[in-house]
């Protein structure tokens, strides 16, 4: 039984695949240069390490939270601030779409941690896929990718044996924004650096307003954004307690109880919890199409103009 996918018109197939992503809610989609990914990603984390016959890596990006979300308390935002689930759903469906439409073996690329490497190394970097596909550029905020129109996004990836023409990375990097350059010239820091609760960001901007360097203490960031790492520590504290009061504190204090709650309800509140660098980022919060209100307004304006 022939698969037949080698006879597919790949130009038309790419158009259909990217259209699928947009139809399902992606704001951007593109194809990353596989050869570049293979050179940049370290051994064990290259696309071919996951799928030996992969020929194309497709990246999809969805928008961040609503405009209203930026104004709520940080503790509320921990539960709903990230929108990666939508990107994953689109990528998951896209793999099925490609197999159904073009009969080319495809997979949803798991954005998860490598189970052999502990709590901080992913199987693949979907961020790298997105950057090479031209969906975002590295910011001073710990290399979070930013888009000049859509701001802060979440990404998902699909691997396929269908060979598609790659897209180039972004021609320009929108970070730092002009207001951030002004602040840097004034106080030596950008908003993301200044307002980080664990001071995990640093960097340098040149006289022309371009990034010179970026320094990121990911271990400190993890204390704010990877609370799942606190779970075994809480249990260890309880086991090590040498009196019932300390054991009760470890297991039944507010901090311990909320961890059990988050685990029991499968809450997303155990990871990607801190948004303080993005909350003060003008690209993330004020780009032309950064949130549903801005996108709806732009759409109405375009309709009025036509």
């Amino acid at each position: 039984m022939a698969s037949g996918f080698k006879d597919v018109d790949t130009v038309d197939a790419k158009a259909q695949i990217l259209a699928y992503a947009k139809r399902k809610g992606a704001l951007v989609a593109g194809v990353a240069d596989l050869e570049a990914l293979e050179r940049i990603a370290p051994m064990g984390h290259r696309p071919t390490d996951l799928m030996p016959n992969v020929k194309s890596v497709i990246s999809v990006g969805v928008g961040g939270q609503t405009q209203g979300a930026w104004g709520v308390s940080a503790k509320a935002l921990t539960f709903f601030g990230s929108t990666e689930g939508m990107a994953y759903r689109i990528a998951y469906g896209m793999a099925f779409f490609i197999e159904n439409k073009f009969r080319a073996p495809s997979i949803y690329c798991p954005p998860d941690l490598d189970p052999e490497l502990g709590a901080r190394y992913p199987l693949q970097s979907v961020k790298l896929h997105a950057e090479v596909a031209g969906l975002g550029a590295r910011s001073l905020a710990g290399d979070i990718l930013l888009h000049p129109e859509f701001g802060y996004m979440y990404f998902g990836s699909v691997f396929t044996e269908l060979e598609l023409e790659p897209d180039p990375p972004m021609a320009e990097n929108p970070c730092p924004a002009p207001s951030c350059v002004s602040m840097y010239k004034s106080v030596g820091r950008t908003p993301c650096m200044k307002f980080c609760p664990v001071q995990c960001l640093d960097g340098e901007i040149d006289d022309d307003g371009n990034q010179v360097s970026m320094d990121y203490n990911a271990a400190a960031c993890a204390e704010m954004s990877q609370q799942y790492e606190a779970v075994p520590q809480m249990i260890a504290d309880a086991v090590a307690a040498d009196n019932p009061a300390d054991r009760d504190d470890a297991l039944f204090g507010a901090a311990g109880k909320i961890l059990w709650y988050k685990m029991s309800v499968g809450s997303g509140g155990l990871l990607a919890q801190c948004f303080e660098c993005m909350r003060v980022c003008p690209i993330a919060t004020k780009s032309e199409l950064a949130d549903p209100i801005r996108r709806a307004t732009a759409k109405l304006d375009a309709e009025d103009a036509s």
Partner: protein
Amino acid sequence: MSKAKFGVTNEMMETHGQTILDLSLNRQSRIGDAVRLLDFDSIEAQRPTTGLTDAQVSEQLDLTEEQVRYIRIVMEHRTFDPRNYDKIYKLGKGKRYRVEREENQ
């Protein structure tokens, strides 16, 4: 225990712990915008500061990949301060973190 299985000693932990943490993805420093520009020479030159895998770290130290991995994961746990998370509860609704506020406490 994997510590004994991999031949990790307390001396290894003491000698290499912080170095392994600094060479790993836990600390990332980059110059310029090499990946976006597909500047492969710059990408290669910067690997020691942009975050290495355990295998890459083991090539720089007299340790096996498994020893590096064990030490890294223990160091990630030991340096993780869950109390920092409480800072979240005081932020938002117009209130931002300020380091000077913390220094004054």
